[in-house]
């Protein structure tokens, strides 16, 4: 196994910038690891080896010439396959999109990472059109959880979380409409940031629900997440939802004194259905932050309203294809989208008005609290193919229930940093650190302090008996499938 791929992005960039390690060697190590492990995990749907090697040469030449190669020099990254990558077809998890021409340009965030010296190695599996929480894609297969490949990685950015957890790349990008960064980050035991709505540009990504879509990074350490987030920030007139705000860098805040925060742990709806494991994870963070219990009124209704809006907006977006070629959709996605577009308009108008009210309720809490805590998911990763799970005394849908605690928060655009709990000999669980709009910096400071105290941290998977038999015979990553 390539030791370089066990380094953090920060360490790789420091080595490359300092001339102690070549970006070309880092990229070669990344492709070796992808080749070794991807067949057992199914994180990547395509790789871009030639492009990566050229980018690595550029970075190495910059170092040689004494030019600044960027803060993420030589760091391999990959993106959920709804991000445009110039010269590659943007799949968005569908076979319908696979018929489209290759993207003519990169998504804004791909450009920003490459400008910072990071090196794109490929695109990652997801639920079809981002409508799911498990990444069990009927067209491209399920992405496996690196901590137990018989279990789901979470979704819809399952490839993005699993790739980082397994060390295929130190960082990745995903999107989050109702929890699609936070759920897989929690189930795969890595960090995931869903920033404030409008903070990061979505230009060059395939939309799912315009009024709810966010994009953000994954990483295995708070510092790596901060470095990545910092280069992603900045206004973008090409995304009408992207706020015209200057970047507010967070990496430089990490070494400041441990913040004294007024923390609240959300009760009621956010505890009622949670498994003992989810509550235990939550309590570990709450205890460390001296969090006081607090209620967010209307959370259940907020989740329901987000659920209805999602189906309606998503269904509306795909209505032309639902009319012409419904049989080409994943059947489960198709039926949810169609049901969405058949909803009465009065439901959707009420959902939007309720959304405004619920945002005001949440903002009121931030007069008394700086950070709110909630479980990321109600339970840990379930076996692939398992449709239901016991929860709160009844059998519930796994796909729908994984977003119970994330949907009310993204509904109102609040920034959330999902952190992985240190849980020896147990499947990963995550906790949401939630702040007032535009206050990502505080979340990073709190997460960094918790990480330094050993409460949270990305656990390295014991890679991985169930994966090993598939490794030797699989050529993926050596150019055999989707490699350009």
């Amino acid at each position: 196994m390539s030791a370089v791929m066990d380094l953090t992005a920060f360490e790789i960039a420091a080595d490359v910038r300092g001339g102690r390690r070549r970006a070309a060697d880092v990229v070669a190590a990344a492709f070796r690891r992808i080749s070794a492990l991807n067949s057992g995990l199914n994180c990547f749907t395509s790789t871009v080896r030639d492009r990566a090697l050229i980018s690595a040469e550029d970075v190495d030449q910059a170092v040689k010439d004494g030019r600044d190669p960027g803060p993420l020099a030589g760091v391999p990254f990959a993106v959920k396959n709804l991000f445009d990558v110039q010269g590659t077809v943007t799949l968005a998890g569908s076979t319908i999109a696979a018929e489209q021409p290759a993207a003519a340009a990169n998504a804004t965030l791909v450009d920003r990472l490459e400008t910072a010296g990071a090196i794109l190695v490929g695109s990652l599996n997801m639920d079809e059109y981002a409508y799911g929480f498990t990444t069990e894609n009927s067209h491209y297969g399920a992405t496996c959880n690196p901590h137990d490949p018989t279990r789901v990685a979470g979704g819809s950015s399952g490839g993005s979380a699993a790739a980082v957890a397994a060390g295929l790349t130190p960082i990745s990008l995903g999107s989050d409409t109702n929890g699609s960064i936070r759920v897989p980050a929690a189930l795969c035991g890595v960090y995931g940031l869903k920033p404030t709505f409008g903070r990061l540009s979505r230009h060059g990504t395939v939309p799912f629900v315009h009024s709810l879509d966010h994009v953000g990074p994954f990483a295995r350490s708070v510092r790596d997440l901060a470095l990545t987030y910092d280069v992603l920030q900045g206004a973008d007139p090409l995304d009408p939802a992207c706020a015209d705000r200057p970047a507010e860098p967070v990496a430089g805040l990490l070494e400041s004194a441990k913040p004294s925060v007024r923390a609240g742990v959300l009760g009621g709806y956010f505890r009622d259905a949670a498994s003992p494991q989810a509550l235990s994870a939550l309590e570990a963070v709450a205890w460390k932050l001296n969090a006081r219990p607090v209620e967010l009124t209307g959370a259940k209704a907020a989740r329901a309203a987000a659920f209805c809006l999602t189906a309606a907006e998503g269904g509306s977006l795909h209505l032309p294809n639902l009319r012409r070629r419904a049989g080409d959709f994943d059947p489960a996605v198709r039926d949810r989208l169609i049901a969405g577009v058949l909803q009465p308009a009065s439901v959707l108008a009420k959902a939007q008005r309720f959304r405004r009210w619920f945002l005001d309720e949440a903002l009121r809490l931030f007069e008394a609290f700086d950070v709110l805590l909630a479980p990321a998911t109600p339970f840990a990763a379930t076996p692939i193919g398992q449709a239901t799970t016991p929860l709160g005394g009844q059998s519930v849908s796994v796909r729908a229930s994984l977003g119970l605690y994330t949907q009310p928060i993204s509904f109102i655009g609040l920034p959330v940093l999902t952190v992985p709990l240190v849980r020896p000999n147990a499947l990963p669980m995550g906790v949401q650190l939630i702040a007032a709009p535009w206050n990502e910096g505080l979340l990073f400071r709190v997460a960094h302090a918790l990480e330094a105290e050993g409460v949270i941290g990305a656990k390295r998977p014991s890679l991985m008996p169930a994966v090993q038999p598939a490794i030797a015979s699989d050529p993926f990553g050596e150019g055999a499938r989707g490699d350009q």
Binding site: L342, K350, R356, W357
Partner: protein, 60 residues
């Protein structure tokens, strides 16, 4: 199925939208319509101020 009011609604509404549903899809859409209606019941009667304006929703 044809006597089920939800199924009848789905068939008629889908046809008006230009959507063609086979039997499997009809079953799936009916199931999801029931779920959405149950969800909507959680907020449709939520008392809101009469002058609440959602227009500024995304001005965070």
């Amino acid at each position: 199925m044809s006597e089920d009011p939800i199924a009848a609604f789905v068939k008629e509404a889908a046809a008006l939208q230009g959507l063609v549903l086979d039997d499997d899809s009809l079953l799936g859409v009916v199931t999801n319509t029931r779920i959405l209606r149950a969800m909507a019941a959680d907020f449709i009667d939520w008392p809101l101020p009469a002058d609440l304006d959602p227009a500024a929703l995304l001005r965070l």
